[in-house]
């Protein structure tokens, strides 16, 4: 049986996985009514819902581990920037459509590998959430792959925008495959995913798609990290002020 200290580690891990999903989901939801055409608008809004649903599952589990001291809403609506532990790549502004699709491809390939690994976790609840979410990720990946191929191998303009997007995002990738002390402890217990082990495979899969899309793999000459320890870009505060506006203005509000 896991003791309280273990419970607390798993709680923190579940919250940060929820943060990743909520923040990225919020970014994708910003395309709602701004999509390039109706079908795409609907598709992005539906992907956003998948992510927000995923966040609810992780937060819900964290709330359960808190023994009733917290609710999923506390995690989403009543924490400030420094308490959020999402990966920085999730919070970057959505950019143009090519930019959004570049990030989605990076994250979809990552999530497919990550969630498959998490579905093997010794923690049955994390494993169950992952097994459910990975099915949705397969659809997400089909779409982002398709768009990266179309835009990369499309017009001069679409190619240039997509290449620029990958160049701009690339330095946020190393953080995805690093473990901090919390995750290392949970990896040792078989609870968390050993993300550094996923990087080589991720790299190969991305390389395959980018080559076909005639996009060059950027060289990493700079990296930014900090999300896992609560150091964020200036963008997260703006995002949270929108996301949390209602609960901050009317505490305890319910629909």
């Amino acid at each position: 049986m896991p003791d309280n200290a273990d419970n607390n580690l798993t709680l923190q891990y579940a919250v940060r996985l929820g943060d990743d999903a909520l923040i990225l989901g919020h970014r994708i939801s910003e395309w709602c009514r701004n999509g390039p055409f109706l079908e795409e608008d609907i598709a992005l809004s539906n992907s956003a819902l998948d992510y927000i649903g995923r966040a609810r599952m992780f937060y819900g589990y964290a709330a359960e581990l808190s023994g009733g001291k917290k609710t999923e809403d506390d995690f989403a609506y009543l924490r400030d920037c420094r308490e959020y532990q999402n990966l920085l790549i999730s919070e970057l502004p959505k950019g143009d459509f090519a930019w959004t699709m570049a990030r989605q491809l990076i994250m979809d390939v990552y999530y497919l590998n990550f969630l498959s690994a998490l579905s093997e976790s010794v923690d049955p609840n994390l494993a169950a959430i992952a097994a459910k979410a990975v099915k949705e990720t397969k659809y997400h990946l089909r779409r982002s792959t398709d768009w990266v191929l179309r835009l990369g191998d499309g017009t001069e303009e679409s190619h240039a925008r997509l290449q620029k997007a990958f160049d701009e995002i690339w330095g946020y990738i190393p953080e995805i495959f690093e473990l901090d002390e919390l995750e290392q402890q949970l990896v040792d217990k078989g609870v968390a995913v050993n993300t550094p082990e996923l990087q080589a495979r991720w790299q190969e899969e991305i390389r395959g798609i980018l080559t076909e899309a005639t996009i060059e793999m950027p060289e990493v000459s700079w990296t930014v990290r900090g999300g896992r320890s609560g150091y964020h870009t200036e963008h997260l505060g703006h995002l949270l002020s929108e996301l949390q506006y209602m609960q901050r203005t009317y505490p305890g509000l319910q629909w």
């Binding site: 609907i42 609810r56 169950a128």
Partner: protein, 178 residues
């Protein structure tokens, strides 16, 4: 939502649809029938059983336990379905119940009943094939032509994709295999 792993209504992915409605308890059997009245708010021809969302009904000492599983993680209809279950049970004189949400095993369209698939098609939505099928043919629900074209991976809800029939030109939704 509470993340719980199922230990009562366990169906494996390979088992297909196993009918659990053979419980001999009269009260439980009445509740199964009652819950047939609860439909998917987005696709009102499908009951929760047809959809594979309703996993089990059982009786403990002092209450009825209803087990459901979500379709897509972010499906906004889940909350409505839960409220509809609550409302029908209360209305029918079963105030002591508990609705449990299980995530594992993860919902699959293979749990959709055959009857549900037929109802879907009559409703104008192409039903999902089996996850294990080698090829997925999307058949036009209007003229049954197999010559159809994907327009978008998502339709009005996450569970559907948009297609167009190359024969009769009708645009239609396809319930995706997952």
């Amino acid at each position: 939502m509470v993340a719980v792993v199922s230990n009562s209504a366990g169906q494996s992915d390979d088992a297909g649809t196993v009918d659990m409605r053979t419980n001999s308890d009269a009260e439980v059997s009445t509740i199964w029938d009652l819950l047939d009245e609860v439909k998917d708010p987005e696709i009102p021809v499908l009951s929760l059983w047809d959809l594979g969302v309703l996993r089990n009904v059982e009786k403990s000492l002092d209450k009825i336990i209803i087990t459901i599983t979500p379709t897509y993680s972010g499906c906004p209809a889940m909350e409505t379905m839960r409220q509809d279950i609550e409302s029908i049970l209360t209305r029918s004189g079963y105030p002591n119940y508990e609705i449990r949400t299980v995530l594992s095993p993860a919902w699959t369209t293979d749990w959709m009943s055959d009857e549900g698939k037929q109802k879907l098609e009559q409703f104008g939505i192409a039903p999902p094939g089996h996850t294990k099928a080698e090829t997925q043919t999307v058949c036009c629900p209007r003229c049954r032509s197999e010559d159809t074209l994907l327009i978008s991976e998502y339709g009005s809800t996450a569970c559907k994709a948009m297609y167009q029939c190359s024969q009769c030109k009708e645009a239609f939704c396809y319930f995706k295999v997952i």
